[in-house]
Point group: C2
Chain length 226, copies 2
């Protein structure tokens, strides 16, 4: 039984790693679409989202089957439940990257962002690129230390997100209504990508240690989670 | 074993019903905060969110314990997995209602919305009030018909949401930057509440029928899901 569980769990874990890599690719592509007006990159992110949706369904299905057939307990059970939750989180991250790509495609060949917003968004994007590298790494290595770093560093993204609000509020910076709307929504999409990364990191800490960091007071602020 | 499963599952189901009722209360309270500048209602929604967070954790914990101890299969397993997913969805709906309440409290005694937006938001709120009644009912009765109605009617909310964008884009309607930002974000929060209601309804259809409506093409559009 144990051998079968490990073999089947390995197959699911491979799919989950694959999802993390696809999310990283989607985040990078969304950044190229947004910051370099790369419409091919935008299209690739949009087209690639269906694969993430399918992988999520497949991972959840496999986990449900594992639960039925293998009756895992203790750490094994925790791994299966967290795997389902991670798949759902990654699927949402793909949706958010797609929203960014869609806004960029709509504005093409212009940028949806006013020039003044580029710096903050570039920094947010750099942060998310690094975070998505960390997501892939923490999952491949089941590495709670990398996961904890993702959780701890989320405040940086929130500070950058606040800068985008400050800019949107600044009546001295001329913007069309469409630019204000895009600035607000794109800022939110990137911030939500960071929130989901934190949520994924928590699941990995939970898998590795059995300790759920969301249940303790910590660096984690009252975020605009949804 | 079967008796214990049913007893323990009944306790979890009661907690889930309780969550649905709390979500309904939060949605109504958020509406009173937003549309009637009722700051006590806003505060109650904000304060009440912690209970929803705690209930979510408790429901997921109970489900994990059930999986470990009872090894449910077939429909029972589907019920447990869907219950976890519903709890996670309800917790997010509570977060969204809280965001609406927070924006209303910040603007108090004024409204965060320009006068011109009131009609669309009132209709969105009416829609969500009705949807949250349906959520409670479909869960209490495990009623797939009510759940299907929630899924089918989501387009109405999307159309109202589009009206709020059209208004934000209309340069003839004078608005401060803060009003534009609030209009865009509040519209998104209400639209996301509708999306989560659809997602919850799908879980109930899945529990009742074993049929997953998210896997078939249907009235469900390419939404701005996250």
């Amino acid at each position: 039984m144990r051998v079968i569980f490990n073999e089947e769990m390995k197959a699911v874990a491979d799919d989950l790693d694959h999802m993390a890599q696809s999310v990283r690719k989607a985040i990078r592509g969304a950044g190229e679409a947004l910051l370099e007006s790369n419409v091919e990159a935008a299209q690739a992110v949009i087209d690639g989202d269906a694969e993430l949706d399918a992988l999520q369904e497949s991972v959840v299905d496999q986990c449900v089957k594992l639960l039925a057939k293998q009756n895992p307990v203790a750490t094994d059970l925790r791994v299966v439940v967290s795997t389902m939750r991670l798949a759902i989180t990654f699927e949402r991250m793909g949706d958010l990257a797609k929203h960014v790509a869609e806004a960029s495609r709509r504005a093409y060949p212009a940028s949806p962002l006013p020039e003044e917003a580029k710096e903050s968004f570039t920094k947010m994007q750099e942060f998310l690129d690094e975070t998505s590298d960390n997501l892939v790494a923490m999952l491949a290595d089941r590495d709670a230390k990398t996961a904890e770093r993702i959780i701890l560093e989320d405040d940086k993204l929130d500070a950058l997100h606040q800068q985008t609000f400050d800019l949107a509020l600044n009546e001295d910076v001329e913007m069309t209504r469409q630019q204000i709307i895009d600035l607000v929504l794109l800022g939110r999409f990137l911030e939500r990508l960071g929130d989901h990364a934190v949520s994924a990191a928590r699941q990995v800490v939970f898998i590795v240690s059995g300790f759920d960091p969301s249940k303790t007071p910590g660096p984690d602020k009252e975020g605009m989670t949804e």
